[in-house]
């Protein structure tokens, strides 16, 4: 019971330790990529719940990230000042849902307030995840993979085809997201430390939620679905409903990450919605270990950080592919479960067998 809180405490300590370490060594700029990696980690732990605990693959999770990011980006950048006179708009403006701000070039524009946009993004995500989830989760195996891939493709091509979403250029000049007075989600270097803590606070809270969920009645139900759906059905577990709720929850994680990363980066592009991105999320879950939230969290933080820093140059994909293969070959339960001795033993035995 208390072990899980020990892990959460360790995570919080590690988050603080990393920040202090970077501050001590004068490498605070690492926090930029660590912050971004934090948001991607949020997507990935959500996906880990869906894949590892409910046993449902999703090759379209970048789609939910994009729904969150794009909704917020569009609402907070589309200038409504031309319709200021319209009664609906002025009502919204008075209620605080709309907010005026200066744009990059000194002009005054009227847009939706980031908080309102955030709520809007959440609602859209939940509705879409529900509408997609109901039919899709009836499918199994490769058919499920295909259907979620199809969903991802649809989101990607809609984003890419719609000029409101900036088509291939995406949306830039997304404003800061005010959290508290003096604290906002933004890429400016003055808020770097605060943003780092905010991103990882989200991850920590997300973890806490998931861990409690897994150890609750719902978690047991999920595991029984993973084990054998028919048996779970016989036990009176409403498998379809649990699967759907998990799907929606993991979609919400992705969307929240999408919203905040978009504000942090000051923009979003269609590459965030691409299939390759979804595949990457799935792959990181696999590398971290399907049933291991902690393994997934660590792998996501490390791999995303290294990739965003461009350590591998033009070999980024190649290194990623190699890690993927290596982990899947030698430690299919995830990196935390790597057991070198049994591995070597197995290889030797297979060799002998092949030779015989």
């Amino acid at each position: 019971m208390f072990q899980r809180f020990r892990h959460i405490t360790a995570l919080a300590a590690a988050i603080a330790a990393v920040q202090l370490l970077t501050a001590a060594t004068g490498k605070e700029f690492f926090l930029t990529q660590l912050t971004m990696a934090g948001y991607y980690t949020l997507v990935i732990i959500g996906l880990c719940l869906l894949m590892g605990y409910a046993g449902q693959i999703s090759l379209g999770h970048a789609g939910f990230f994009a729904i969150g990011g794009y909704t917020s980006a569009v609402l907070t950048t589309v200038d409504l000042s031309a319709w200021k006179a319209a009664p609906a708009i002025s009502l919204l403006a008075k209620s605080g849902i709309l907010t005026g701000r200066a744009d990059l070039y000194g002009g005054q524009i009227l847009t939706v307030h980031p908080w309102a946009a955030f709520l809007c993004a959440l609602c859209i995500t939940i509705v879409v995840a529900f509408l997609i989830g109901v039919p899709v989760l009836k499918l199994k195996g490769h058919y499920l993979a295909m259907a979620t891939l199809g969903f991802g493709t649809i989101i990607y091509s809609v984003v890419l085809a719609t000029s409101r979403f900036g088509a291939a250029d995406g949306i830039s000049s997304v404003p800061a997201f005010p959290l508290l007075p003096g604290l906002a989600v933004t890429g400016g270097s003055s808020q770097r430390v605060a943003n780092y803590y905010f991103a990882w606070l989200l991850v920590t809270v997300g973890m806490l939620l998931l861990i409690n969920l897994i150890h609750s009645r719902v978690g047991r139900a999920l595991r029984s679905i993973h084990g054998a759906e028919d048996a779970a059905g016989a036990m009176g577990v409403d498998a379809a409903r649990y699967k759907l709720n998990t799907f929606i929850l993991s979609a919400v994680y992705a969307a929240v990450a999408g919203v905040f990363l978009t504000h942090y980066n000051g923009g979003i592009g269609p590459s965030e919605a691409s299939i390759m991105k979804s595949v990457r999320y799935v792959a990181i879950v696999a590398v971290g270990g399907m049933g291991s939230l902690w393994g997934t969290l660590i792998m996501s933080a490390v791999l995303n950080f290294l990739s965003l820093r461009g350590y591998f140059g033009t070999f980024d994909d190649a290194v990623f592919g190699s890690i993927l293969i290596a982990v899947m070959l030698f430690s299919p339960e995830g990196v935390l479960k790597l057991d070198i001795r049994s591995l070597v033993g197995r290889w030797i035995r297979t060799d002998r067998k092949a030779g015989a």
Binding site: K138, G141, H142, I154, D317, S322, I325
Partner: protein, 296 residues
């Protein structure tokens, strides 16, 4: 005019469909013996095309294609032996992820070997502008080549799987791996063989479509997604169904362009296909029994 247009769009759809179908067939062969979807299938197509172009620099076209097919078959076999063969009872998802990793590695390898430039084989007959005209509808001879090759491949595969001992053994593996092993069939060799065969078919596909689509190191991923889509939609494990689904997807795309902005082509065709999938969860031509058997 309307009819002429209709048929011209149909020809376009058949062109798309042929490309998707020849890729989709390859998926089925490996699926049939192993129950896994090999996401590196698109890379086999790319490798075939790229190798053929390289070989064509000093070999006549038929030899270059034959060479490319052989090279890709060797690569396919090698991949199976290095990454799949020695695993003890791997889960399907694990194998899928391995194939994704392999596809990334092949793609990156090709980038560093060939660079990012585009290449293509010459048209087998005629050239870039030639077309065969039938009642106002024009079609490039290469499309007919691709269709012909697809038809022959499907035919040969059917003969192979149903009328040769080796083919039956591979089918036995697919239907029940343990039972096949109990018949004394070396199941692991059959899996290697399925990689070799599907790599060969992918490479051949890569060669015949290369004049139409051109070839570049990154072309595999897009083709794999389309091929995967049609393989699933047709109903896994059935090459004829993959061809059918390929044509359906191609024609859907083509006709969606007629009436809607092209930019939404993928969104429209995939939406329709998903609707079909929801209505028939085991694929358009598959039977639900088979679909229930294989899972992650």
């Amino acid at each position: 005019m309307f009819l002429e247009l209709f048929f011209q769009y149909l020809v376009a759809g058949l062109t798309y469909g042929t490309i998707y179908a020849v890729v989709g067939i390859g998926f089925n062969i490996i699926y049939n013996t192993t129950g896994i979807i090999n996401f590196a299938q698109g890379e086999f197509v790319m490798l075939g095309g790229m190798t053929a172009v390289s070989l064509h620099a000093f070999l006549p076209l038929p030899l270059a294609i034959a060479g490319a097919v052989l090279v890709t078959m060797a690569v396919g076999g090698l991949i199976e032996m290095l990454f799949i063969r020695w695993l003890v009872k791997p889960s399907v998802l694990r194998m899928i992820i391995i194939t994704i990793g392999v596809s990334i590695l092949i793609r990156e390898g090709a980038l560093h070997l060939w660079g990012e430039g585009i290449r293509s084989l010459p048209y087998f007959t005629g050239n870039e502008v030639s077309a065969i005209e039938i009642g106002g509808v024009r079609v490039s001879p290469q499309v007919l080549w691709a269709l012909g090759v697809a038809a022959i491949v499907v035919l040969l595969l059917n003969v192979f799987f149903h009328y040769t001992m080796l083919g039956r053994e591979m089918r036995a593996c697919a239907s029940n791996r343990d039972a096949a092993a109990l018949c004394g069939i070396p199941t692991r060799n059959m899996v290697t063989l399925s990689f070799v065969v599907s790599a060969g078919i992918g490479a051949l596909a890569g060669c015949v479509v290369s004049p139409i689509t051109q070839t570049q190191y990154g072309i595999g991923a897009g083709l794999a997604i389309k091929g995967f889509t049609v393989a699933i939609l047709g109903g896994l494990g059935n090459s004829m169904a993959a061809v059918g689904a390929g044509f359906i997807l191609g024609i859907l795309e083509s006709f969606s362009i007629w009436v809607m902005p092209t930019a939404y082509k993928d969104a429209i065709s995939i939406t329709i296909l998903l609707a079909m999938l929801f209505a028939r969860p085991s694929g358009l031509f598959g039977n639900s029994e088979a679909a229930r058997l294989k899972e992650f």
